[in-house]
Amino acid sequence: MNAQHLQFVPASEFRQRAAAAVADEHLRRSFRGAMDFLIGKRAAQFPDASALERQRALAEHIRKYSLARLPELLEQLERKLTENGVQVHWAESPEQANAIIIDIARRHGTKLMVKGKSMVSEEIELNHAMADAGMEALESDMGEYIVQLDGEKPSHIIMPAIHKTKEEIARLFAAKVPGASYTDSVDELIGIGRAVLREKFRTAEIGLSGVNFAVAETGTLCLVENEGNGRMCTTVPDVHVAITGIEKVVEKLEHVPPLFGLLTRSATGQAITTYFNMISGPRKPGEKDGPREVHLVLVDNGRTQAYADEQLRSTLQCIRCGACMNHCPVYTRIGGHAYGTTYPGPIGEIISPHMLGLAATHVLPTASSLCGACGEVCPVRIPIPDLLIRLRAEAQHDARPGHAPLLGQGAAKSRLADAVWSGWAALYTRPALYRAFGWLATRFRALTPPMQSGWTVSRTPLKPASRTLHDEMAARNKR
């Protein structure tokens, strides 16, 4: 499947991309294998179901509590960070966020920015904005590096290159990394990436990272990672820019352990990651390394729209573990690229409409069988299936009374669907009409069209029976 330079793409193309992905056996095998692996690893971390429920209840409570106090916590975070010497910036849109970062980069004469894993930077398309401004932004997470080298986007938020086999990566490295010869040994491939990227860490003027948790009481930015590239990006260059959605803040340091413990176990089935990096300020006088400047960019990009509605607000509880993707039967079959959005899978289906509007994304909440697996594994208990149903409704109808319309409200409204439902309501509320319809449907059943839109894609056509249930019951009662 070709995912070159994938931009946010119109929702109308989702079905075609999904169909192409489903037909791609190689992609299917990659995802099925990887998801089964991750599902097994996660399950092994939670042997006691009732203990897991207690942890989820606490994590949900912490996230709900943090969101309930979000404006105060953001102000407290800003105050503490500023005291610690960190410069805090606010951005309502991707354009504002990019402008802030490019301005910082220009002030430091940046040629190269090294990037630790940050989904928000993908969300704002920072790499393109940097390229347009004549500066290089290099991904340094191994998976992200591979994906960027091939001109693609991540297909999973935790394992960006999950759609690629080691042989594909071997060919990619041999073709694109100067001096690299073909090897399909994973250790050697990682060695090639390591050698290239260490040179980049050493020479980059700026390092960029995401944030997993921002602690308001101490002004601390927490980063979760295994590779050490996040530490490189936040420690080696003279300037560190962290970027995060406004929802990532928690009040206290003690709120972090329960969330952190669930994040890594849910994401990759690890009890902990190699590194948990807590950054509370730039290099202090007397210290010999660390960035001289640290910036935090707080990004809204539609999050305040989700926040404005009590039900949709729970979307913001997300700690980005990816478990909902790993367990989603749709995601497993179509992979991350088919969605066409930064965040794929169930979390993408409920967060993307706020970022990009329902006009562009209304098809995404329908990419679910509502089996409920996503909601069941969510470590912070986001009721994802409920939110999918809610967004489907918002895409089909005007805003509920007393609610502000969402971006792209009613974008999937269809006169035909409305007419069908009105007709259905009329039939089922008027007995005479209902009987007349039954009489006609049974007599003229031969006229039923053989092609019935989505139904007949993979099913035999529906055809009325020769007698209605009323007739059958009447005949039976006579006997």
Partner: protein, 221 residues
Amino acid sequence: MSARENILQRLRAAPQGTQPLAPDVPGFYAATGNGSADRAARIERFCEKMTFWHGEVVRVTRGNWPQKLHELVAAKGVRSLLYGERHAAELLASGMSGLRPYDRPIDGWKKELFEKIDASLTSTRGAIAETGTLIVWPDADEPRLMSLVPPIHFALLDADQIYDDLFQAMTAQGWSASMPTNALLVSGPSKTADIQVTLAYGAHGPKELIVLLLVNEEELK
């Protein structure tokens, strides 16, 4: 209006709903934590988990650790060991060669650090038994890059400072009142599974992590 004001104003305009009470995190850990482990069990657990993460644990005493380190350094073919002032006296007395103090700001010798230093020795502030995790708080004497750039990281851990879990460690050591500019939890050498979910060690940081665990004579085994 600024972006900041717009965002905060939209958040404040949102319906309040019911305000949740503050979560009782200490209560949760008191009820479900691993708080009953004794010293021997904590040491055992830490060693088991750290080994699981591909970290090596070597039991040493206050008296013999420089000598043990000397042996390890020789066995691993380390030609240059980066250290902080804190351990200068012991290391210099051990007769080790290739010792390199981190005695000036990084800016002048970044290339040398990346290309010429084989290993480093740092202290730790303690450890977490549940997950096999070192608590590393870099400071002016033992800066941040020591535990990151050299391919081999030796870490000195006092067995008295092993806590049951992260919550216990952060409350017992009073972190929230005294966060340093950078604090770290380290569980093993750096790793990645980004290529076909195959685990590989030495992604960007150290390829090896060796914990010198300071124990009493009778715990040496």
